[in-house]
């Protein structure tokens, strides 16, 4: 399945958002995720099924003004 993760294309076998995070070695309670511009809560990642062409954003705390 082809997925766009943080602006980069990945060919990946993951079927859920939680599987995708694990496959790409993402971990931490401080991560926030969105699929196709909508928030996916941490608690819903394991059930959230991905589709070919989905755009995934994985964000974390950063400096800000």
């Amino acid at each position: 399945m082809k997925l766009m993760v943080n602006g980069e294309t990945h060919e990946i076998a993951a079927t859920t958002l939680a599987e995708l995070l694990a496959a790409l070695d993402y971990e931490g309670d401080w991560l926030a995720t969105a699929v196709n511009s909508d928030l996916v809560h941490k608690a819903n990642r394991a059930e959230f099924r991905l589709s070919d062409g989905d755009r995934i954003e994985i964000l974390s705390p950063m400096q800000g003004g």
Binding site: N6, G7, L24, D25, Y26, E27, G28, W30, L31, A32, T33, A34, S37, D38, L39, H41, K42, E57, I58, L59, S60, P61, M62, Q63, G64, G65
Partner: protein, 257 residues
């Protein structure tokens, strides 16, 4: 002391966390400023979570309240989704709402701002809107559910200081009961003191401290200026006069001729 959404903040200085020479200097500057709330953002995590973890640990260790922002968002959708993601990560419904409308001036898209503010207020957020000094926009933001307003005094990062004192004065006069925080454009402590002397409730700044030759010293200076400006406002400032007025009593002066 400063009350926002039922929370008392000891300091009227809000400080950004970006552009410091090092994490250690950021931490020292935050302490020196006396601030009780810092702004943070969310960005793409490219290191599996390790980049965010470092910064998040540093921020939590500061012990201040956190005000996440939607910096860099150019649409209502981006800002709303970013705000929701920030609520989940930072565990607060407070959000500094930015919807940028122009790349050069970084001025807010006030139409998108009002729309995003309405959506987020209805969703239970305490929205701190980064806005202009326009009174009509301010009224629309209040009507959308905002309880606090954050007008710029000059473009973000410009260090120009208050370029339209009349507009800021007018804003303070029109909204006597609304917490008003000057956000963006402050360059030096005297700028902060000037807007605090007008009766603004607080200031939010970042670049003026982070990019100073000595950020820790400048943070301390801003902390003092904010306190001085507030105390001056509360003490009743003398209005300027056209003519000289002697300060030493005329009565009883000696005559030698």
């Amino acid at each position: 002391m400063f009350d926002l959404f039922g929370t008392t903040l000891p300091s009227r200085l809000l400080l950004g966390t970006a552009q410091y020479p090092s994490p250690a200097i950021l931490a020292d500057a935050v302490k020196a400023s006396g601030t009780s709330m810092v702004t943070v953002s969310l960005r793409r995590e490219m290191a599996g979570g390790r980049a965010g973890e470092k910064f998040w640990s540093l921020i939590r260790a500061l012990g201040t309240r956190i005000l996440p922002n939607t910096a860099g968002c150019h649409s209502v959708k981006e800002a709303v989704t970013t705000a929701k993601m920030a609520r989940e990560v930072f565990g607060t419904n407070w959000i500094k709402l930015e919807v940028i409308g122009n790349h050069d001036t970084l001025q807010p898209d006030v139409f998108g701002l009002v729309e995003a503010a309405r959506i987020l207020c209805e969703d239970g957020f305490a929205v701190f809107p980064y806005t202009t000094d326009d009174l009509v926009v301010a009224e629309r933001l209040l009507a959308a559910g905002c309880k606090v307003l954050m007008p710029w005094c000059a473009p973000i990062g410009s260090a120009l200081g208050p370029i339209n004192m009349m507009a800021l004065c007018s804003m303070r006069g029109h909204f006597p009961g609304v917490p008003l925080i000057v956000d963006a454009g402050l360059g030096r402590p005297s700028h902060a003191a000037r807007v605090m002397e007008l009766g603004f409730d607080a200031v939010l700044l970042n670049t003026a401290v982070a990019k100073a030759a000595d950020p820790v010293g400048m943070a301390r200076a801003f902390g003092k200026a904010v306190e001085a400006g507030r105390e001056a406002f509360l003490s009743g400032i003398l209005e300027p006069r056209e003519l000289a007025v002697p300060s030493t009593p005329i009565f009883g002066r000696a005559v030698f001729s």
